[in-house]
């Protein structure tokens, strides 16, 4: 099941691995002698500016560690990710606790360079490493009646200072329709830039659904349940008129408190321009079919 999708954002869109830690200095140095143009194919130049490791790992929403963007990078180190197991239950043939290392030995990890669009109207481009969620679900054996997949983040107050206050009802919960979960774009990410995914980004494994707002891509997963009914999801429980179950990126349907028509890419500095947000975050060709006949205004 792996390799069902080919990156549209190519390696040329990502800073070379050897340079990503100090891209700014290198770019500044190269720009002067006009080497940047040579380093990238012409077509990719119009593509998105990739984000650095520093950007991806220092600007996070992970409310279990605090509500400020730099809180997860500051406090997530307390989360113990070894050993780690994922309980897979519900409508599956082989329910049980799956050890993270055992999962990894079965899965094919590949690189997926995806746009990431937060519901707060900022975005990044992230080179994830991970495996298709479909492969994991097939490992557990999805039963006939299953229609939805529910996910849960670890809830450990001792390791998660942000959970001392009920910002949301813990544990954090998310869900997908089964066809969304089985879609080749949907992955479980275990790395970024070929390094193990840092705690603030959802170690040791997190969901990535690139055509949905970032909060759907639940982090540090401990439980996956196959269900017949639509599972409750954290942000929908917190503010149902603001966050629907689907939460597909849609520039035509605004958040009640702000516009979703445009976004600002993280890393552009103090004078960064807003760019238009793309339908399904740029993955319309791949996923629009999943929602055929559905009113996306109703099913936001």
């Amino acid at each position: 099941m792996a390799h069902r999708w080919t990156n549209t954002l190519t390696h040329a869109d990502v800073t070379p691995r050897s340079a990503f830690l100090n891209r700014r200095q290198i770019m500044a140095g190269l720009a002067g002698v006009g080497l940047t143009a040579m380093a990238r194919p012409a077509a990719a130049q119009e593509a998105l500016e990739p984000n650095t490791w520093e950007e991806i790992t220092s600007y996070n929403n992970f409310y279990e560690f605090g509500t400020r963007k730099d809180d997860p990078a500051k406090y997530a180190h307390t989360l113990v990710t070894e050993p780690w197991s994922v309980q897979i239950d519900g409508l599956v043939d082989r329910p049980g606790d799956y050890d993270f290392q055992d999962i990894m030995s079965e899965m094919t990890v590949e690189e997926r360079i995806y746009r990431f669009r937060c519901v707060e109207a900022w975005s990044m481009v992230i080179p994830w490493n991970g495996f298709e969620l479909a492969d994991l679900l097939n490992m557990a054996g999805v039963q006939e009646g299953a229609k939805y997949v529910a996910f849960e983040t670890a809830y450990r107050p001792d390791e998660m200072p942000g959970t001392r206050f009920p910002v949301l009802e813990w544990p954090y919960r998310e869900g997908l329709r089964l066809d969304e979960a089985m879609h080749p774009l949907t992955i479980m990410a275990t790395g970024i830039y070929d390094r193990p995914i840092p705690n603030q980004n959802g170690a040791p494994l997190r969901l990535v659904v690139p055509w949905k707002y970032g909060f759907k891509s639940i982090k540090s997963i401990v439980k996956i349940t196959l269900t017949e009914d639509e599972p409750p999801t954290s942000w929908n429980m917190s503010a149902p008129h603001e966050y629907g179950f689907y939460s597909n990126v849609n520039p035509n349907v605004n958040h009640p408190r702000w516009s979703q028509a445009s976004e600002r890419q993280v890393g552009g500095g103090l004078f960064a321009k807003r760019i238009p947000t793309l339908m399904f975050n740029g993955y319309e060709a791949e996923v629009a079919g999943l929602y055929e006949g559905m009113d996306l205004r109703e099913n936001y």
Binding site: T67, F165, S259, G267, G269
Partner: protein, 204 residues
């Protein structure tokens, strides 16, 4: 407390203006050099808004501090107010020119997004207060000056509300700000003046 008040009397007002103005260039410098993180626009916007609220709260605290603790900051109240207004204005400018950017979007946001409507209303209430924060206006308006400046109460309340309304989820910080503001306003209700009749004379 009288020793503290005596020491305070020796501090010139311009020093308070200077001290209060320092965070503005400092924040701008940090925003330009990466000190505010990888997304400096919202960080700068947020920090300026927070500073404005803190100064507004300090301004509201001047009278109760004098009344209940005997601490006299009256001399600095105008400076605190003018600084607060400056930070509200900077916060608004960052929102307009760095954050929203699209001029057509701004009016739509003000009327369509309640937290922006509320914040904007708070700002508008502060404008006449900032304009009349000078000795000449105080003389010319006479007793009406005091009446006019009662507008600061709803303005600060709207500011606190604005913060609560823009938060995602049930967050502690904005609620703490709103509670402090509400508390300082409650102290001004006639109920508490029954306990201390003399309060009326210097409350404003």
């Amino acid at each position: 407390m009288s020793a503290v008040n005596q020491a305070l009397r020796r501090i010139p007002v311009w020093a308070v203006y200077l001290l209060g103005a320092i965070p503005a260039p400092w924040l701008l410098y940090r925003a330009l050099t990466g000190g505010l993180g990888v997304e400096p626009i919202s960080a700068l916007e947020h920090k300026l808004g927070e500073l404005a609220l803190q100064l507004l709260i300090l301004g509201l605290a001047v009278t109760p501090l004098r009344q209940y603790l005997g601490l006299n900051l009256l001399k600095f109240r105008r400076a605190i107010g003018v600084l607060a207004f400056s930070y509200v204005t900077l916060h608004l400018l960052v929102w307009l020119f760095l954050d929203v950017q699209v001029l057509g979007q701004i009016w739509a946001d003000i009327v369509k997004r309640p937290y922006i409507t509320v914040g904007m209303a708070g700002f508008l209430l502060l404008v006449p207060l900032a304009v009349t924060s000078n000795n000449c206006s105080v003389r010319r308006l006479g007793p009406r000056w005091r009446k006019l400046h009662v507008l600061v109460y709803p303005a600060v309340l709207l500011g606190g509300l604005h913060y609560v309304m823009l938060a995602k989820g049930f967050q502690p910080e904005p609620l703490i700000y709103l509670s402090v503001i509400s508390g300082l306003l409650l102290l001004r209700l006639p109920l508490s003046s029954l306990m201390t009749r003399s309060r009326r004379i210097d409350s404003a």
